[in-house]
């Protein structure tokens, strides 16, 4: 069995895995990272979205061996230094979740969206999250939450970067 080395939420794991093992099952069944849920078997729902080397991937369509050598961030590792990520906070404040099952994937996909486009329009947010399904919210508050997080992150980036503050 191939040996892989993957850093997940700041901790490096070395394991011998079956080549067919999905990353999401590696996270859940091997590492106990059960904050990442599974919602489908056809790569449609996005509930299992994680960040792999900073980019969002659906961990049900990545093999664990493909993650060898990479750094994975799950919803459990998104908060830094005990501080919730602005996207987590804004999902809470805007009531952008109900059952919460899609929420880990939705939050991680949204953070990746803002990395590409720090100030998206509502339509760009909706298009950017097209690969993540939510059955509870009707998406309206998710759009608001991403907008709010974008504003907050732009503001705090401006506050810490004097060059941007002048722009």
């Amino acid at each position: 069995m191939p040996r892989i080395s993957v850093k997940v939420d700041g901790v490096t794991y070395d394991d011998d895995v079956e080549p067919r093992l999905l990353l999401v099952h590696y996270l859940r069944d091997w590492l106990g990272k059960v904050g990442t849920p599974i919602g489908c078997d056809t790569t449609n729902c996005g509930a299992c979205t994680v960040l792999m080397d900073g980019s969002s991937v659906k961990s049900c369509s990545v093999l664990a061996v493909q993650a060898d050598g990479s750094e994975v961030t799950t919803i459990e590792g998104l908060a830094a230094d005990g501080q919730m990520h602005p996207m987590q906070k804004s999902f809470h404040e805007e009531h952008a979740l109900q059952c919460g099952y899609c929420t880990p994937g939705m939050i991680l996909a949204a953070t990746d969206l803002l990395r590409d486009n720090p100030n998206p329009s509502d339509d760009e947010i909706r298009d950017g999250l097209e690969g993540n399904l939510c059955r509870c919210t009707g998406y309206q508050n998710i759009v608001r939450a991403v907008r709010r997080a974008a504003a907050e992150m732009t503001e705090s980036a401006a506050a810490t970067d004097p060059k941007e503050a002048r722009v």
Binding site: C40, T42, A79, H95
Partner: protein, 798 residues
């Protein structure tokens, strides 16, 4: 706000506040406990082999080759459990002679839908279990599928259950008033008798979390803990006891974090029963987790009805009578409330309108498809769809503005409480206020002008205005009414309030949340009732060991029934505490006032004790009044006197491209009235989420089968659950007409959005195309269907 909420004792600080939810912390950080995440020592994985055929006899089955596969501990077919598996229960025999065929968890001799479970493998891990399913040898002798509802009722049709001699499950008839006389009058007086057929496609509920179950046995003691992604831990425990023979007190059911339900987790499912039987047989804990493809085959579907509607009205548009004849698809077996779903609609076809006569009948039919059961709204969306489509069609036939036609017939606000023709008593409502507000926000007149302009200039993109003014019956329900409908359960809810020595409060509820926000809403109620901080309240639910009694969450009942039980239990705590406070303050009970968490002696406000002081004094019990027990804890069981009847006015402007058939929702205004609002944030979330699901029925979703009875919408790649770009921004507002049948004045809101939205959207599409000769488009109104409807009507008129 059209009316102020009723005043309640004490200041309402929390009730009405837009509190962000206390549930969120774990959900946004991944510190969740979904059933599939649960690990227990020695846990084995179960996988289920399903029938690939819609209808077939099992002529041979051999599970033993699976045992040779690596990691496999056991494999079983239906024959291995034939003597002990019993039949999955149906709790709603809607007529005395309803056909109720056996519903074995594992098929033994015959499979009756593609996805019917036939065997299981138990292995050390999920991959080994799934692999070994392929080794099971099974021979099927195909039988003809039964797919079309009307063909199924024809003489000589192939039978789903040959023992029954028919595919008919039941005929239910509910006449009220003299429909024939109403019809005759319409004809005699130059009025109208309008007939329509509307189709309710099958839907796949699609909760984001598929089902899962973990059963942990203590074999020596005959005890079982069952974790399940369920809406109904309490009912499930009872059903498991009734079907498996394990005594009720030896079963503990836990609903941990549950990722949505929408009615689809309101059942005893085959896999729950089988997992328990397997765990009992092996003496080992077992987990089964559904894949999405399994979810679409083996979790109940919703809707699935043919609706024949006849409306009799005067020439001026006054409704005289309504006749509804349904054919309802049961699917292959009766699940928990399969036959009763159309009956929940039976009372709602008259909707918000007055009329002289009503005649409802429904024929339930077996097909070789996945069983149907409750899906968000359960019967009421179907009813609302039919009446609100019919009102728009009638307005067209009579040349009356559809809003005016509704105004002419609806129950006016001063007429409440109102006894409807269907036999319900609507306690309160104000359709005028909600509709006026909706029209204002929508810009109705302006949009009508634009519609006319687009028609005049032959714009390829036509504008349609859709209207839906709904009410619905929820907060299920008064037990005596359920009994009168032959439903096999009650409708009360339980709560218990426990005062901890530090003044913190634990509240046990029998409601079982799966996304609704009970912890937050109920904490707000308790905070106001007891005068304690919101954060000092903790909810306990979803575990029959700690929340021992309850009837769970469905039918928008948790607040309107469960919330009242909590309110009553809080009231009892205060009454107990009043005695202790009086003793501590050396005053008579009758002189003690309670407000904002403090007991005061009337006329001597400086003489006071906070509730926390009284709680601690009671806990210490050093100085209790004579004959008073040292506890302030209290419980309550509330059985409502009536359903609750939220209502709302939904208006949709749709742009329909006549060249491509594509529909774009340009604006959607929803003014809903669910009585007094505890948490506007939560209510708005329920409304907009509900609208998205109803709109999805109108535009996107349909469970489809091929000619052999295979589900062809069996994955999320084939079944179009809308994504963010597919759902429009909803403009929401509220009116507040308090319920008069419960002390909080609240009405359920969990299903209202779904109930109101579907006809609003389809009415808008049809309205855009009426001048082209289109008077119906079947759901979902895909671009292809809309385009074809336009082509067919232009071909017909050419």
């Amino acid at each position: 706000m059209t009316e102020q909420a009723q005043a309640t004792p004490g200041a309402a600080k929390e009730i009405g506040a837009r509190r962000a939810r206390k549930e969120d912390a774990r959900l946004i950080t991944g510190q969740t406990r979904w059933t599939d995440s649960i690990q227990v020592p020695g846990l084995l994985q179960m996988a289920v082999l399903r029938s690939p055929m819609a209808h077939a006899r099992i002529t041979r089955i051999d599970v033993s080759p699976a045992l040779d596969r690596p990691g496999v501990l056991a494999a079983f077919s239906g024959r291995d459990f034939a003597d002990e598996q019993g039949s999955l229960p149906c709790a709603w025999p809607v007529t005395e002679d309803m056909a109720q065929p056996p519903n074995p968890p594992l098929a033994v001799d015959e499979v009756r839908y593609a996805g019917d479970a036939v065997a299981v493998v138990v292995a050390r891990d999920r991959y080994s279990a799934a692999d070994a399913l392929e080794a099971i040898e099974i021979d099927y002798e195909p039988l003809p599928p039964v797919l079309d509802l009307e063909e199924a009722l024809a003489d000589g049709a192939p039978l789903v259950h040959s023992d029954l001699g028919t595919n008919k499950c039941y005929d239910f008839h509910m006449p009220a008033g003299d429909y024939q006389a109403a019809r005759d009058r319409a004809q005699a007086e130059g009025g109208i008798v309008m007939k329509r057929r509307y189709l309710q496609q099958r839907l796949q509920p699609s909760a984001m979390e598929p089902r899962a179950v973990v059963v942990e046995p203590i074999a020596a003691a005959g005890e079982f803990t069952l974790y399940s992604a369920t809406q109904i831990p309490h009912i499930l425990r009872l059903l498991l006891a009734m079907t498996t023979g394990v005594p009720e007190h030896k079963i503990r059911v836990v609903a941990p974090d549950v990722g949505g339900g929408f009615g689809s987790k309101l059942n005893l499912y085959a896999e729950e029963s089988i997992a328990l039987l397997v765990a009992r047989r092996l003496g080992r804990p077992v987990k089964w987790t559904e894949s999405r493809s399994e979810n679409y085959q083996a979790t109940i579907h919703g809707r699935g009805q043919i609706q024949d509607i006849e409306v009799a009205a005067t020439r001026e548009g006054r409704l005289l009578g309504l006749k509804v004849s349904l054919v309802a698809d049961m699917g292959a077996y009766l699940q928990l409330i399969t036959p009763g779903v159309p009956l929940l609609g039976a009372f709602m076809y008259p909707g918000i309108y007055k009329m002289d006569a009503y005649d409802f009948s429904c024929t339930g039919v077996f097909t070789t498809k996945t069983p149907t059961d409750a899906y968000r709204g359960a019967g009421r969306p179907e009813a609302t769809y039919a009446i609100e489509r019919a009102m728009d069609d009638l307005a067209q036939e009579l040349g009356i503005d559809p809003i005016e036609l509704r105004r002419q017939n609806w129950i006016r606000h001063e007429e409440f409480p109102f006894d409807t023709i269907a036999g319900l008593t609507y306690d309160s409502g104000n359709y005028e206020a909600a509709t006026d507000e909706a029209l204002r926000l929508f810009g109705y007149e302006e949009l009508r002008r634009e519609q006319a302009e687009r028609r005049d200039r032959g714009d390829p993109v036509q504008l349609g205005i859709g209207i839906s003014i709904y009410t619905e019956m929820c907060g299920i329900a008064p037990s005596r009414v359920l009994g009168s409908l032959s439903f096999g359960g009650g409708g009360w809810e339980y709560a218990s309030v426990r005062m901890l020595p530090t003044g913190k409060v634990e509240v046990v509820t029998g409601a079982s949340p799966h996304g609704q926000g009970h912890d937050t809403t109920f904490s707000q109620i308790v905070a106001d009732a007891l005068g304690v901080p919101f954060d000092d309240v903790e909810l306990i639910h979803g575990d029959t060991k700690s929340s021992h009694k309850g009837l769970d969450t469905y039918g928008s009942r948790s607040l309107a029934v469960g919330g009242i039980a909590i309110t009553q239990a809080c009231g009892r705590v205060i009454e107990k505490a009043r005695k202790v406070a009086a003793h501590l303050l050396e005053a008579a009970d009758t002189d003690i006032e309670f407000s904002g968490g403090t007991f005061r002696v009337r006329g001597a406000p400086e003489s006071a004790k906070t509730i926390q002081e009284v709680v601690l004094a009671t806990h210490l019990a050093h100085d209790m009044p004579e004959g008073v027990e040292p506890s302030l804890d209290a419980d309550a069981t509330f059985d409502p006197e009536n359903f609750s009847f939220p209502h709302g006015s939904h208006l949709v402007a749709a742009e329909v491209d006549t060249q491509t058939g594509f529909t774009k929702i340009r604006s959607y205004v929803a003014v809903d009235d669910c009585g007094r609002v505890i948490n506007p944030l939560v209510v708005e979330g329920q409304v907009v989420g509900g609208i998205a699901q109803g709109l999805a029925q109108a535009l996107y979703e349909e469970a489809t089968y091929d000619a052999d009875g295979n589900l062809t919408s069996g994955t999320l790649a084939d079944y179009l659950v809308p994504a963010a770009p597919d759902v429009p921004e909803i403009t929401m507002a509220r009116t507040e007409t308090p319920a008069t049948t419960n002390p909080l004045g609240v009405k359920g809101i969990g299903e209202a959005g779904t109930i109101g939205s579907t006809p609003a959207v389809v009415n808008a599409i049809v309205d855009a195309l009426r001048h082209l000769g289109v008077d119906d488009v079947d759901m979902p109104c895909t671009p292809e269907r809309v385009w074809r409807a336009i082509q067919e009507s232009s071909a017909a008129s050419a």
